[in-house]
Amino acid sequence: MSLYALQKLLYELNRDPRVQEQFVADRDALLARFRLTGEEADAIRNDDIGMLYILGVNGQILMHFAAWRGLAWDEYIQAMKDALTKHGQVRGGIYAAVDGGEGGAL
């Protein structure tokens, strides 16, 4: 897993409008700049916020990417809950779910 590279892509995207422009214009060209696994690249390609959460992307990075991709707050929380049910526990990082992902302030 190349969680570092995946998070770096999203970190740059979150803070740099030029990277956002490239994301919109040619997502594959942007993806090619980072050493990602196929699973990671697919998650970015498909705007799969839930899968990015499972792959271990830090919530403080993913929260803003999710908002930029148009997810309202409740949709973002729900995407993580759904992915947890589908794929199981978070695989890296420090944002693992607790209590089976239950609860929260929806």
Partner: protein, 281 residues
Amino acid sequence: MSLVFAGIMSHGPGMRARADRADPAVRDPFFATLERLRERLEEARPDALMVVAAEHFANFFMNNMPAYCIGMAEDYEGPIEDPGWLRIPRRTIPGNADLSRRIIRKVMDRADVAYAEEWKFDHGIMVPLSFLTPRFDLPVIPANINCQGPPLTPLGRAYEFGRAVRGACDALPERIALIGTGGISHWPATPNSGKINVDWDREFLARWTRNDRKALTSYTDEETLRDAGQGGFEIRTLVAVAGACEGSTGELWFCEPIPIFATSGFAAVMNLAQETAAKAA
């Protein structure tokens, strides 16, 4: 002069972004308490406000992560987040590069710190400023403690960092205010966002108001993760403020869980006058 004000408060983006969804019975008294905090800050007539924050990948990433960093710019821009999402308009916030440089030089006598001449503020600084300096007109000296990308600085070092900041304040002629911002227990940006361990929060704040160095720095990260979530790692910012006020005790003004803000809303201050009185005696 010295340190003229020291306090702590929560900074969750929901305090602005989702304020309309919070229970008014808790939100309104919390926001009224923050008004009181603003008044206390203004009464102290500070020349600058140092904000000890736990930033969230706005400026620093794991390619080159400082454990501690202090800003040294003429001004700063924020929020880095979408202003429509955070509901705080983007603006320029004044800094004071000369004061920053003198603080950093003094802090370095006792602690290692990085500096940054560019810094974009995220919600961790913008949300507190929007309550404490709503006109964004007081020069800000930002300081950051890495609470997101382990390995993290030990709590004892965070307390020492605060002592070093105090040493700098005492050596300079300016009147400096200090605010520490971070969540206590919380599991933000997870499916559990809104989970809060209020007993843990109250126990932590009791240790903070006693300024009990040993108790404040005795949490292991494993215990914090288990009992207070990964968001609990941000107590480093609050521990640093206690360190800056060694010899003083504090007052808890507010602590109630507000799930849509993802944390307890809290505010507390240190009574710096006690320390001055003790020295005079």
